[in-house]
Every structure is written in C-alpha cells, then in structure tokens.
Amino acid sequence: MNIQNMILTLQKHWSQQGCILMQAYDVEKGAGTMSPYTFLRAIGPEPWSVAYVEPSRRPADGRYGENPNRLYQHHQFQVIIKPSPDNIQELYLDSLKALGIDPLEHDIRFVEDNWENPSLGCAGLGWEVWLDGMEITQFTYFQQVGGLECRPVSVEITYGIERLASYIQDKENVFDLEWTNGFTVRDIFGQPEYEHSKYTFETSDMEMLFNLFNTYEKEAHRQMDEGLVHPAYDYVLKCSHVFNLLDARGAISVTERTGYIARCRNLAKKIAKTFYEEREKLGFPILKRKEQAEHE
C-alpha cells in the first residue's frame, strides 16, 4: 500500500468514527499536537473529534537526505477524540486492520510511554504501540494541556506515517517509499530534505533568527493582551520553530534552552487560559449543542 492510499484509508476509517477530517495547519510545527486543532481544542469541556495529516518539522533530525531513517520533515496522522471513547484501543486496532495489518500475523503491543511537551505545558499517559518491535504510533490520554487539567480527557493517536509505511512496504530506506504510483518520497522530498538540512546546519542567519524569536514573542504577548487567542498562538508556533532552528544549529546552550522553553511555555499557558475563558463566554457552544441533541 502506498502512502497516499494509507492516508486515504486512515481518513476513511476515522471519518466513519465521526471525526472531522481537516487539512494540515499552515504554520510550521514540530508535531501534530501543536496544531491548534489539537492544542486548543483539547482544552475545556466541549467534545471534539478530528483527524488530519500534519507535516512535522524537526530541524535537528535533518540528515541532508542521506540517512535512511531520519528526516527534517516527516508526516504524522493525527487523531484527537474528546472525551476518549471506551473502545478507543479497538478502534485503533481496526485502523491497522484496514491498513492490511492482521494482528494475528504480527506482534502488536502497547508499551508504556508517558508523553510530555514542556514547551507547551502538556503531559499525558499512554503507550507507544509496537508492531513487531517497531514503534508505529503514540497513543496518549491527555492529562494536562497548557498547564490546565483536561476535563474531560482527550485521547490522541499519532501514527508515524513513514515508519508505518516502511513496514507495510518493506523498505529499508525511507526515501524509497512509494508515495503514489510512480512517485517515491525521494522524488517529492529529496531536494527539500537536502536544502533544509543545509539551511538548518550551515547557512541560516542566526542573528536574524534570534531577532525573529524576540519579535514573534513580543507579538504573541501583544495579541494576547488584545484577547486574540488564535493570532497569538500562531506566533507561539513560530517562536517554537525558530527556537528549533537555533537549537539544531547548536546556538543555544543547555541552560539557555531551559529559558527559551520556559518563555514558550508561559505564552502557551496564558493562551490556554484565555482560550478557555473565551469559550466559556460563548457558553461552550459545542457542548451545549451536544447536550441539546441528547435531550431531544
């Protein structure tokens, strides 16, 4: 099964489970969790179900397109459901079956893995799912987002698309994976991988990046003061990406690192709190609608 069909299959599967199918969010980010469709929507009492593919940038993992296992940018298929349904593990395993992975022919395990994203004030408990020893999915029950306790709890399922594909297609090199008929990952991402790696490690303008971080941070605070959660959050994402670029370049010492992460976290917490308050002012409309529907 090529990657395109894998994505179509997962979209179909989760759409049948009532998930809103969305497109990737258009600001650079390191993980699908950072999309506002996950980060913000996991906050508060309103129900939420969504699935989307998120291209995720990890500058430090760039290897000029030469390493068979590492990428500057990989793809995650992200599912968020709030509150977490009772049969979520079964729904997940059904999605693997839809991808042609018969659990009876493999060894599938749920191995403890607790997830934390300190720069967003997030923490959760759950597993990494192993397929014959390979980690193919992160499965997390959010306990805290933006420093706020999650009530109810969202479940997040993150498939590593390339990992899963390398198993399904039995390829040793990620660049040999077939995206769709006649097109490999190399065809599509080979050149960008090389160029982004060169940019990240060699040619980026560090002074500019430091300035951008400060500018973005200031703007995020300014928009927060206006009560504009979404624009502010976009700037937090930009801060985070710029920070990752600087970090990959080795421009940030271990201690400074803690400082930058704390700055991102403070912003994220403020945004989380304001988002909650704004939804509360609106009377949590999605929750209200659901309760009305149940009432009728």
Partner: protein, 690 residues
C-alpha cells in the same frame, strides 16, 4: 459452615509492566485484610496478573461472617443508678437503644469513673450482603502514576474495561468508574475472545483456553523453558537478566520466544552498546556463544503464538538493524574525536545556569580530587591517575554515542579513553567515577576512581546547596540524596577515615572561590552537614541499626564515616548484653551533668577532696590516651564501659554541685572532659535502655 470461592478480576487497558507486581500484591493484601477485618474465614488465596488484568481468587470463603460480641458504653454509674438504687431513665433509654434490657448492664471503669456497659451479641451477616464493599479495594489501590480518562474522575493506573466479581455463581453487584461487575472476562487481545465464568475456580483454566497465562510465575517459567530450548537447539547461551525477564513476563499474556539475527559487521560496536540497544530499547535477550562471545543474534518474546512467527522475527530484525546502523555510525564518528577537542566542547555545555559550564565544574573536581588524594594518602601513581581522570572524566558526554545512549556515560568514556591512549587506571577511573550508579550498584574500587567519584559527587551537592537547590520532600531533581549516600558508601568501601566535615569544607571553599555561592557560607555548611547526617541516618537504618543508636552516633560530628558506621554496629552488637544498660546509664549521667558546665577549664587534681576523684581522673587520662592513639570502635567501646565502676563510685562519693565554687567547677571540668571522650563513641544518653 457453607463456603464458596470468591473471584475479583479487574480488566484494564495495558498497564505499565513495571507497576504490575506491586499492584497485584496490594490487591491481594487488601482482600485478605478486608476478610480478616470482617471476620470472614477463608482458605487459599491465589493472585493472577498480566498486562490487562489483576485478579484475586480466594477459596473457601465462609458464606456468613463469624458471630461476635461488642461492648457498648452507656451513662456513668451515678447517672445510670438513682440515689435510691433504682435504674434511671437514662439507663433504660441506653439499653433500649441497644436492643437490650437493664438486666444486661455491667459496670466498667474508664479513667477512674464507672460506666454502664452492655455486651452486645452481633450476629454474623451473610458474606454476600457485605461483598459490595470490595469495590473499595479497587479504588484504594495506590499507583506511582495515575491517570484519568473519558469523563471519569477516578485516577487509576490505566482505564478500567471490565470487572468480574463472583461469589460462587453469584455476581457481586457494584460499579467502578462506570464499569459494572459481571461474569464475563476477556481473553488474549487477538487470539482469545470474551468468555463467561460460571464459577470462580474455573478462572485460570478458562483464560488459558483464551490464550492467557494468568499466573505470572507460570508465564515466567514458560519463557525460561522456551529460552532453554532455544539455547539447546542452537548451542547458545542466553544470559538471563532478572529485571528484563520480569519486565518481559509483564509485557505479554501468552509468551512465545523467537530469535533473529543481525549483520556480523555490527559486532565491531562495543558490546555494551549492542546490549543496551537490545535490552533497554527493544527488550531483547542478547545471545552468547558457549565460550562467552556475543553472537549476532537476539531473542525476543512475542505476545502470541507461533503463527507467522517468521514475519515477527523479520520485523524485529529490521528494527534492530536500523538502531545498530545508527550506533555504528556514531561509533565511527566518535573514533575521530580527540580528547582535547572534546574537553574544549565541555566549555560550551552549561551544567547549570547558576553553576557554570562542565569545564568549570571539572576544573573544580580536579582541584578537589588532588586535595582528597592528599588527605586519604593514596600512593603517588594513583594520585596521578586521579588527577588525569578528574580532568577528562566528562569528555565522553560530547560523544554521539553517549548523546544517543545516556546510560552509557562513563562506560563509553572508559572504552574510548583506552582507544585514545589513556592508561587503564585513568580509563577505569572515568567509568568508576559515576559509581554507585544506583542503589544496588557497587562503589568505585580503585583509589583513583574512588577519589574522583567522591570529588565529583561532592562538588555537585555543594554547588547546588550553594545556589539554594536543596532536596525537600519528594523534590530531588538532581538526585543529590543518592549522590550523598554514594559518597558515604565509597568512603566506607575504601575505609577512608578522613572527616566528612573537612571534605565538605574543602569543596565549599572551591565552590565559593568560583563565585557560585548565593548564600552565606556558614549557612551552606550547616545545611550540608545536616543533609549528610540525614543520608547517613538512612544508610544506618538500612543496615538495621535501631533508631536510638542512630541518634546517638549522629549526636556529635560526623567525622570518619567508616568509623561512624562501625561505632553504630558495635553498639548495636552489644545492646542486648547483660550490663549494657548499667554502663550506658553511667556514661549518660556524665553527659547529662557535663551539660551543666558553662566553660570547660583545666582539671586541677589539687582540688580533689576524695580518692574516688583521683581514681576516675587517672582512669580518664588512660582512656583518653588510648582514644588519642586512634583505636577501633570496638576498643573504644570497651575502654568506655570499663570506666563504669569508677564513674559510679565517683557519683556515690561526690557531690558535683558542691557549694565551693572552685571544687564545683573542677568537678564539672572532669565531667566535661570525660564527656568529650564519650562523644567520640556516641551521644549515649540518646540510647534507650530497658
């Protein structure tokens, strides 16, 4: 009496393997504790556990509680009985309330007042009617990490999926976090299905039919015998790491061991890396030849049967290959690194914002190591090795291998150091300086290794204390407690008697020279001594020393740690002997009265009025001379208790608090001098004698 079997099974989403053993132990204890408390008799108790279930099966549980008696307290006698000797209204009301009559009243004294009492007969209730209470056994389980899920408020280890609660054939009705009890259990996630349990006793067998080996010990044995079979068939040796075996046992419900291979070329990577990669990351068992060489093979345990086992093996090989090709790349890169270049890079790594870089830290560690080498009197060669090792002890932190496998710090340092031309002694000291790495690890053996181990740990602790980062409660992010214990254990291991206070002082002056201290030096020093005292107290507790003896030996300065540990052991050893009590009482009397001495002056024998004073004084001079010469704890103890008769005589014949000021002060001076001697052993008046 009629009996039935009782089954409680909690079905869960996969629990973390490391918490399962403790969880099932708790559930078993809570169950028997509850039955005992309720006076319900029972027979055998069996515990079952797997990643998805915790179950207790209790045989022969009585259908009825035992009958019992309970005393109820009523009004005081003077209220219960009227002045003319009749039962009062209050007495009648009390007995009526208890369902009894005034005839049943008897009196019992409580705190000197007599109260009316009745003895109530409590008829045992039907066990079944009480059993819904076992819900509380589930909800009161303690886990190191809890979570919530869905809309539920309960915090538990993982979401609860089903509960089987059977008393004979009857389902015990209750619900936890929205899950109702029933008689349906679930089998293996893929190979099994739901199955109805008609009776508790069929539990283990029913699950086996659904591909679940519910008894953890049976699972472990099954894995072991499968591993043995693989060993025999292939002529291999599979070393069994007990922790790994336990973890694997708790990762599967139906174990099937299988093996795979990796490319021989990866054997160029150091064995430690290969083993860490296999064990820690993949939970594989490494495989060795009969002659002890690591083979390019691994064994893993699948949660399932033999179906398509070659697919599973191939998948696992692919994963391991990816990991090892990364490791091989790191290894080749690291080979190019020169130690001097690595050390330069340490200058860019901030150890802690307020403490400085790793090169600043190692510079201090090196100075401290040289000072400690001097104080401990290790030979010149070892001192040289310690100096070099202290200088380069952190170089491997900038290698790619340690970046990828942080648990190999020091271990890679030793490997790489040898490759890069360092002496064996220096290389080994680099490895040893992290020891003890955990509570079960041994301490550094070589002199150089021990010196650097103590220096590095001490510098860490002192630096953090200097900036006000002090462990409290569960907060000890830099594991300072473990490092303090490590220092003490290393000193004991080497039998180095250099006073701990002086080591703390040396380190503190280096740290404050570096301008790190944010607080007053004296305050830091005080906090450090207090902190080390607590850690040593903890170590003594672990060795089974009684609390009062611990308080006694920690009553003064810490001094020599091996000496202190020995003193505690000596006192502990003698504490049940005849005469111990009397000896301690005599010595304590000295300590107690010496506390009244305001200043300690010289003793003037010319002021003695009584021969017993001269005798005790002479005995004291002897004892002090022996103690000065640095005797073993056992001899010090002996010397002190031999003073007992002379002390007793002295007290019998002299009044310390004499009217004459000169005589009084002179006597106090003698007491104070002896008490200094006693304190070299312990603050013996802390010891509780019976």
């Amino acid at each position: 009496m009629n009996k039935r079997n009782l089954l409680l099974e909690v079905g869960l989403e996969e629990m973390p393997a490391r918490f399962i053993d403790n969880s099932i132990r708790q559930l078993g204890e809570k169950m028997t504790g509850w039955l005992d408390k309720k006076n319900i008799s029972y027979g055998k108790v069996q515990l079952f556990s797997s990643p998805r279930r915790l179950a207790v099966l209790v045989s022969d549980v009585a259908e009825r509680q035992e009958d019992s008696h309970e005393e109820a307290k009523g009004p005081a006698k003077k209220i219960a009985v009227t002045p003319d000797g009749q039962w009062s209204k209050a007495a009648e009301g009390f007995t009526r309330g208890q369902g009894m009559t005034v005839e049943d009243i008897f009196f019992k004294e409580i705190n000197g007042v007599e109260y009316a009492h009745v003895k109530k007969f409590i008829e045992g209730q039907e066990t079944f009617s009480l059993l819904a209470e076992i819900k509380g056994l589930i909800t009161s389980l303690n886990f190191p990490k809890n979570m919530r899920w869905g809309d539920e408020e309960l915090r538990f280890i993982r979401p609860i999926k089903w509960i089987v609660a059977l008393f004979g054939q009857e389902v015990i009705p209750f619900s936890v976090a929205g899950v109702n009890t029933g008689k349906v259990t679930r089998g293996h996630r893929f190979l099994g299905s739901e199955t109805v349990l008609d009776l508790p006793e069929g539990y283990e067998e029913a699950l086996l039919g659904q591909y679940v080996v519910a008894d953890a010990e049976s699972r472990k044995q099954a894995i072991l015998s499968q591993l043995e079979k693989i060993e025999e068939e292939n002529g291999w040796v599979i070393p069994i790491d007990a922790d790994l075996l336990q973890e694997v046992t708790n990762l599967v419900e139906y174990p099937t061991a299988l093996y795979g291979k990796f490319e021989e070329e990866y054997l160029e990577i150091p064995e430690e890396v290969l083993i860490t990669s296999m064990k820690e990351h993949q939970r594989y068992f490494p495989v060795k030849s009969k002659s002890g060489d690591l083979l390019p093979r691994f064994v893993t345990v699948r949660n399932g049967d033999h179906l398509h086992i070659e697919t599973v093996a191939r998948g696992n090989e692919k994963v391991l290959r990816a990991r090892l090709s990364d490791a091989a790349f790191f290894y080749r890169e690291d080979k190019k690194l020169r130690i001097e270049d690595a050390l330069k890079k340490l200058g860019n790594i901030v150890y802690h914002e307020e403490i400085g870089t790793l090169s600043e830290k190692t510079a201090r560690v090196r100075k401290l190591a040289n000072l400690i080498a001097e104080r401990t009197g290790i030979d010149e060669e070892a001192a040289k090795a310690a100096d070099r090792a202290a200088k380069i002890c952190k170089f491997d932190l900038v290698t790619q291998m340690v970046y990828e496998f942080p648990e190999l710090q020091g271990i890679m340092g030793e490997k790489y150091a040898v490759q890069k031309g360092e002496s064996e002694a220096v290389a080994h000291a680099i490895n040893e300086h992290y020891m003890p790495r955990n509570a079960d690890d041994s301490t550094a053996e070589s002199d150089a290794g021990a010196v650097v181990a103590i220096s590095d740990k001490l510098d860490t602790i002192v630096s953090f204390f200097a900036i006000g980062v002090i462990p409290s409660g569960s907060q000890d992010p830099y594991a300072l407690r473990r490092q303090a214990a490590g220092i003490a254990q290393t000193l004991v291991g080497k039998n180095w008697g250099v006073p701990l206070e002086s080591l703390i002082g040396l380190s503190l002056s280096l740290v404050s020279e570096a301008g790190i201290a944010k607080r007053d030096n004296e305050e830091i020093y005080k906090d450090l001594c207090q902190f080390f005292k607590l850690r040593i107290k903890h170590l003594l507790q672990e060795q089974g020393i009684s609390y009062d003896i611990i308080d006694a030996v920690l009553g003064g300065e810490l001094g020599s740690i091996p000496g202190l540990m020995k003193k505690a052991a000596v006192i502990q050893e003698h504490k049940d002997e005849a005469g111990f009590k009397e000896s301690m009482e005599s010595l304590s009397r000295v300590l107690n009265i010496a506390a009244k001495a305001e200043v300690m002056g010289d003793i003037d024998p010319n002021l003695f009025e009584n021969p017993s004073e001269n005798v005790l004084h002479d005995k004291y001079i002897d004892a002090a001379r022996k103690a000065e010469a640095g005797i073993e704890a056992g001899d010090l103890y002996q010397t002190l208790i031999e003073l007992k008769p002379f002390i007793n005589d002295y007290f019998d014949q002299n009044m310390i608090m004499a009217d004459n000021q000169g005589v009084r002060e002179n006597r106090l001076n003698l007491m104070a001098a002896i008490s200094v001697l006693i304190m070299k052993l312990a603050k013996v008046n802390e010891i509780i004698v019976k």
